[in-house]
Structure formats: structure tokens, C-alpha cells
Symmetry: D2
Subunit: 266 residues, 4 copies
């Protein structure tokens, strides 16, 4: 049994896991992790791909091959940008290089937390949407900031769960639940902070549509096995959300009553 | 990719989900849930099966059929017992009825929390082991109490996660982690309290060998879909444990560095 | 023993509790709560005071009397404003009415969470600082947004702990800790969300300088007793921070060793 | 305003803080900490006092002096005991040495967690009560085990919050709340695990009657200041419990409504 499909910018998707490509031990492991994850969207850093040039020890070719082999779609990102201007320029180069309107917009506002800069992100998003991009903004979990991104034409949101690479999971579940409740029709993807399969499940159980992660797989003891774990985690979380979780209660409720009829229906 | 197999009382098992049979809407749903869960161990309440007799509207026959069809093994339980004496008697009847040495020992010490009674459980476990049973004790998460159960011959432990049917998940992760660390060679199963797939994943990520649950599936909006969710959850949690989770850290660590070589190895 | 004094906009303060004046059962209870709290800063809603006029059943007169009797300072607030423009107008009226440059700036961005609107708050803060106000902005816990408020001249920040009146406490301690660590020299006050004395203590233990609260006292079963509780809570939290908390550890460390010399020093 | 008084074994008490005497930098600091804490019950390790003899560098004399000067009562403890037999012997020696029927019964069941051994503790408690002692048992937070201690004649319970000296606070608030709800008339004291003033406040807010702590004060950066912090913390927590905390809610509730009459009553 598999979760229901979803879509981002009208692109139909079955997998609810988006995977980053940085920091893997080798191109082979990256390729195997992509395969094991079942992902259909792979994100790649533009600064990396553009900057490394011929000396990229096979990175771009490896990613392209993996993406092609597994039928995934490429989502270039602007990781490393500190201003709207820089991100816009990079996004435009990416569109040419990868021939795609998709862009994961990442404008960092702090060097230690690598948190999104709400102002610069909004400015860049507005410009990129106007320029024809389909923008996946890495953003904070703040409802008002998220609404502003929708107002300028974003149709997917990617709030952070925790600082990039920190593996802390969802540090503010209240805010994520609030986002889901208040923006019921927007595809919501937790981006950054996922460290364990349980974190991914929690995001899906909250009703998020998907998670994007990288370090949790790339830096795991066994990245390929962790990729498989994450594939099952997002499926488990989504199936759980769809199946309807039981309500929690403070005290016990005997699952095995000792009298009455065993089944609710005869 | 699947998790490594394990075993309980030398009985080899692949699935890390043990499933209860109480409270399902109908025998058909129970059968389908067993199938979707992939479970290999199904627990059944003795008080129910013995008490209901001919009026059990197909419960026992349904469970037997499901178990047979899916190659699962039956684990009779003493749910509803309040004393060692009562549990011992019931276990002996179960052995005859189901022709098995396995018994899930459950002696309740409080009506509202349905928590295990450490004293009565220990007394019953000792007697049952001496009588040739292979005992799966439902117990508290207390290390000293768990050790006493091992001392009298239990070779599997089933600490509760939270009150039965409460769906609260793991209310004392510290104690569960401590049990895992201090009893590295004992099969440990979280029994009771699991309400969501994320709870099951957490238990496996802590290094527990399996979870036993009932209400989370039986009382879900769609029990069969939730059974499938739980099947993937335990696989995800175990694969994650085997793959080696990344360490958490307070601040960010760029997953996409903007310089240096893309892969660790050339 | 009392905590060290602090200051806001060069105004010296001993108490670390700022108190709201809304929703008390009666003027007498409000006055007694102010006395029991030991507060030196009392905030009052401008919309209320301006709008209610002669029909305010003694509210303004009561607040003024309480403030005067207890040597507290009045901090007018713009609660209820939805735009920078509205908040600026109200602040200017407040300055005339209360003859103070202090203003608690509150521009709400969502009707259900009553969260601050980062954009409108920033716009208003910039205008008010330029106009000579000393602004206490009610803001989110987002580091980048907080920095922008400092950039336009705010010298105190008041991040929310949780939605106003929700009593949830500190829903994102990570972000609050980060603020404290990254803005070591800015007076930081948790505003909104405090429901219990333990929440106030936590804020102070994190190194925050003070808390502002209202509903937790006004709507307690016994507001005057709760005001006394909060007074002790902020003192306890601050003394704890100043005394230096012990490090936490996973396992035990005998506080009563059974050999060696009893004291570290002879 | 001060919290209502309480009592333990009919001994009236105002302070809700019981203080340990181990690990202080010097006798002077211990004496000052006792004074600053306002405690009326001071616990002292028997193994320490008996074992050290003349070489105790003033420990016993110092404790006796501090206790006498501050009108506190001595509560000898059996810290370091591993069996009922050992604890009983020690308790009997303590009664002679300190001329008191009070004994803090501590029988450890694990070297790493220093958790209570429920079986040995129960055995010792029963014997000591029969021998005329007034027993303060250090116990787990398990309801059934606590009830057994009451059954053998204990009239005060001291469940742990976390491992001794770990400073983790209350690791299982659910169980502590359950104890309070189910044993409404028994004086309950959180013993062990308190690391910060906020932990002490939480215990009192849960309705516990008092806390016993040692390391959090003795090993703080400034023990005397921390003792003062803890004194205010227990008062704050108890006053909060007595005043009646507001209910928490998921969304906001304006504390400053912008229309209607300011006070509930005219």
C-alpha cells in the first residue's frame, strides 16, 4: 500500500522525499542513495556546480546520470547566497544550465544558524516569479512570512525544521502545525534539520506533503541504508496521516476488554 | 532493502511489529490489517477467547485463519489479570488451547493506567518459567525491575511506552535508552502506548528490537492503511538504527559547501 | 538576596517582571496584583484607554493610581493594531496622553495567533525611533527579524514565547537561546505566552532579562497570589542564571559520596 | 505573600525545600547556603558521618551548627546502601547518633543511575516502620511501587525526578502528575534530579509538596546564590499551584481586548 500521489507546480509526484546531493562519500554512494531513496526530486547546489568546473571530480555528471537513471527531476538551489541579488543571478544561470524553471531559493540570513533571511528571500521570490520561475523558497516557519511568499506568487513553501545539518528535527512543531492548518491547500515541505527517520515521519504526520533532506543521509554511517530508511519513513508518515491517527488520552483504555463482543460489528 | 532479522526465544523473525487483535471493526478488517502489517506475531487475549465461547462472533476462528494464512505465530496474552495466581492459571489454559509455550504475561496493577504490577508480574514470571513457558512480560521501564525478570528466566522484555490505548508514545525515552544500553543482548519490545507511526520509529531508533501495538491500528480511521503505515515505520526505524544516525548539533552545518571538492573521496 | 538590577533605555529597574493591566476582575484586584508583583513597569492598552472614554469604569484612573502608589512606570502599548500606520498614530496619541517616550509596539499579523507582523512592526519601529520614541517591539523569535529591529534603532526586544493568552510557555527555547547568545548586550524580554511561574523561570534561566505577562496573572484563580508567585519566579530564574546552573548529564553522580573528605576544601 | 504551611509526619513546616549537605566547597559555604535556602529540613549521609570519624574536617559539627542556628531539623539518610539489611543497620545507628526517628531511606539498585531498588526499599521500609521509624523513602515514580510503600506504613514518599546529580529535572512528568492525582493526601517530595530553579518550580506546580535537592546548590557556580534562587523557586511554584494556573490553549486569546468594558466587574 502506498500513499496518495501529490504534485508541486503541477508536476505529479509519488515520492514524498526530496534529496540533496552534497557531502556523499563518493559518486557511487550518491547514485545508490538516490536509488534507495526512491526520490523523484534531486536538488543540486549551483555554487558548487558552477564553481567547481572541470575539477568537480565527476559531481555534475554523476548527479545528471543518477537523475536520468531514476527518472528524477532536478531542482537547482541557490545555497550559499546571502542576498536577493546574488540569488536571482544564480537562479538565472541555473535556468540556462539545467534548462528548468524550478529553483530552490535559499537566501541565508545568518552564518551560524544558516537560517533564511525573510526579507531577502521575499524580494528574490517576487523577482523570480515575475521572471517566470517556479520558486521553492526555503523559509522560516513564520506564518506571516509564509503568507507573504504566497502573495508574491510562490505555490510551494519549504519551511525549515531546524538549522541545516543540525539533525535536531522539528524544533517548533506548533508553528508547523499552525502552517498546515492555516494553509491547507499549499504544498508544504519541511526543508533542513531532519536528522532521523522519526523526524521525517513526524513532518508527514503533521500533514506536511514532503521533506527535503541531505545530511541525514549523506553523513549517516551507511548512507544507502539510511536512504532506504527515509523512503519508508515518509511513506509511513503519510500513510499514518491518511489513515487517521487515534486521539491521545492521559489514561489507559483497555485494548483487550474482557467482556462484550470481540468485534464492533457482528 | 530490509532490516536485519531478529529472534525471540530462538524463533527467527523478520517483521519487527507484533500486532494485537482486539477492537477491530470486523473480522475482515482484522484479517486485512494482519496482512498489511506484515506481522509474524499476533497476540490474542485469553480472557476474551475463553470467555466469549460460542458467542465470540467468529473472533477466534478469524484470528486463527489470519494467523495461518499469513504464517504468523500466535502469542496468547493474560490481559485483564490482576494477580500472579490468575495469570498463571490463564497461561496454563492457553498452553492447552493454543498448543504453544509462548505467553505474553500481563498482570495489571492499576485500573486507570493499566500499568504492570512489578511484584505480581515477577511472581508469575518465575512460576511460568519454571513450568516451561517462554514468557514475554509486559513490564515497566524500570531497570531494576527488568533485571529481576531476567534473573528469573525471562529472555524477552516488553516495557510499556505509555498507558495501554493512550496513544501517548514513549513518555520516558530516557529510561528506554537506559534499558537498551544496559541490557544490550536482550530482545526489547515496546508494548503499549504507541499511537502513531512516529512513535514506532522512535522505539526502533532507540535500538529496541520491535514494538507491539493494537489500538493505534484497530482504532485508526482506516485500520488497514494504518497497519501498512506501521509496517513501514518499524522498517524505517530499524534501518535508521542500523545505518547510524548523524549526531545532532546546536548550530548549522552547511550541507552544501560552496567550495572544496564535492565528494569526500576523489 | 536579590538579583542584580538591569535597565531598559537607561531607566534602572530592579524588578524583572513587566505586568499587563487587562482582564482583571476589578480595579481593586488589579491594584493588589501590581503591589504583589513588585513590578516597576505596567503596560496599558491604548485602544482601550482611548476608546473607552468616560465609560471605562475607572480603568485608567485605577491604573494611574496603582502606578503612582507603587512607583511603577507606565508603558503604553498599541495592542490591537494591524498596520504600521495605525500603530504610529496610536503611539503619537499615547505620548501626549501619558507624557512618555516609551511605547510597546504591537502590530498583529494574524487574527488567530495574534503573532507580530515582522514587516509592519519593522516599518513602524523605524518611524517611531526617528520620531524620538523609545520602542519596545513585540516581535517574533526570529534572529534576522530581531537584528533588523536593532538596525533601525530599537534598544530593547520583546520576542513572543507563545501566542498571547495561550499560556503555552516557551514554544521555541532553541530560538530564544540563540537570540540570547547572539545578542548578548540587548535587553531581551519574553512577551506573551507565559502561563505559569515555571515558564517565567525558564525565560530568566535562559538569560533573558525579564518577562512581560498579563493573562497568567489576570485570569488565574487568585490573581494576587499569582502575581506574588510570578514575582518570586523571575527572581528565582535570574538568581539561578547568575549563580550558574550545574551541567546536566545522562547518568547519576552521587551527591553523597561514601568516602573521601566531606568538603572540597579542608 | 507566602505559601500555605504543610507537614511531614505531623511536623509542621513552612519551607518547601529540603537540602542535602554533600559536596559543598567548605563548611562556611554550606552554612550560608542553608541560611539562604530557608530550609527547615537538612539531610546528612550516615556513611559519610560515621565513616569519616575524627577526620571529617568539621563536617558533622558544621552541619549540627547550621541546623541549630537556623532551626532546621536533621534528616539522616542511608545514601550508599545497596541492600535492605545494610540500610536497616545504618538507620538504627543513625537513630542513636542523631536522636531522631526520621530516616531518609535510600537503597540503590544500580550503580550508574543510582536509582532506588523497589524491592529492597520496600523490605527495609517495612522493617523500619515496624521498628518505630518515620520513613522518607527515596523511590521510583511508579504508582504501584509507591502504593506498596504506603501499605507498609510510609506516610511520606520521595520519588526521584531524574538520576541523582544528573540535573535533568523531571524526566517523567506524566508519572509524577499521576502520583499526585492518585495519592492526593500523601506528602510527595521530588528527590533527586533537580538541576535548576525551573525544575523545582515545575515539581511544585504539579502539586508536589516539596523538593529535596543537593547537587544543584552545592555544585552551582555560586552555591549561596543558588540556594536563594531555590528558596524563591519553591515558593513561586507552590503559590502558583495555590493560585490556580490558567488553562493552556493552542491559539491566542487577546489579553487586551479593544472593546467592551475593561473590568469583568463594574
Amino acid at each position: 500500500m502506498t500513499p496518495t500521489p501529490w504534485s508541486a507546480y503541477d508536476h505529479p509526484l509519488r515520492s514524498r522525499l526530496l534529496l540533496g546531493t552534497a557531502g556523499y562519500p563518493s559518486p557511487e554512494v550518491l547514485g545508490q542513495a538516490i536509488a534507495a531513496s526512491g526520490t523523484q526530486v534531486v536538488t543540486v547546489g549551483l555554487k558548487r556546480s558552477l564553481g567547481a568546473g572541470a575539477a568537480d571530480n565527476g559531481f555534475i555528471a554523476g548527479v545528471r546520470a543518477a537523475v536520468r537513471d531514476h527518472g528524477a527531476r532536478l531542482l537547482p538551489n541557490t545555497a550559499g547566497c546571502r542576498s536577493a541579488r546574488e540569488a536571482i543571478t544564480l537562479a538565472q544561470l541555473a535556468r540556462e544550465l539545467y534548462d528548468t524553471r524550478w529553483i530552490k531559493l535559499e537566501v541565508i540570513g545568518d552564518e551560524l544558524t544558516l537560517q533564511p533571511d525573510p526579507w531577502e528571500t521575499l524580494t528574490a521570490a517576487e523577482a523570480l516569479v515575475r521572471d517566470g520561475f517556479e520558486v521553492f523558497p526555503y523559509c522560516t516557519e513564520d506564518l506571516v512570512s509564509c503568507r507573504r511568499l504566497l502573495d508574491v506568487g510562490c505555490r510551494v513553501l519549504m519551511p525549515w525544521g531546524a538549522p541545516i545539518g543540525s539533525g535536531q528535527g522539528l524544533i517548533n512543531p506548533w508553528a508547523l502545525r499552525t502552517l498546515r492548518a492555516r494553509l491547507p491547500d499549499v504544498p508544504l515541505i519541511v526543508d533542513a534539520g531532519i536528522g532521523a527517520p522519526s523526524h521525517a515521519v513526524q513532518a508527514l504526520e503533521l500533514g506536511f506533503d514532503a521533506v527535503l533532506l541531505n545530511s541525514a543521509v549523506a553523513k549517516a554511517g551507511d548512507p544507502v541504508r539510511m536512504a532506504a530508511a527515509m523512503a519508508q519513513a515518509v511513506a509511513a508518515g503519510r500513510l499514518g496521516w491518511e489513515a487517521g491517527l487515534i486521539a491521545t488520552q492521559d489514561l489507559a483504555s483497555a485494548s483487550t476488554p474482557v467482556d462484550g463482543r470481540p468485534f464492533v460489528l457482528p
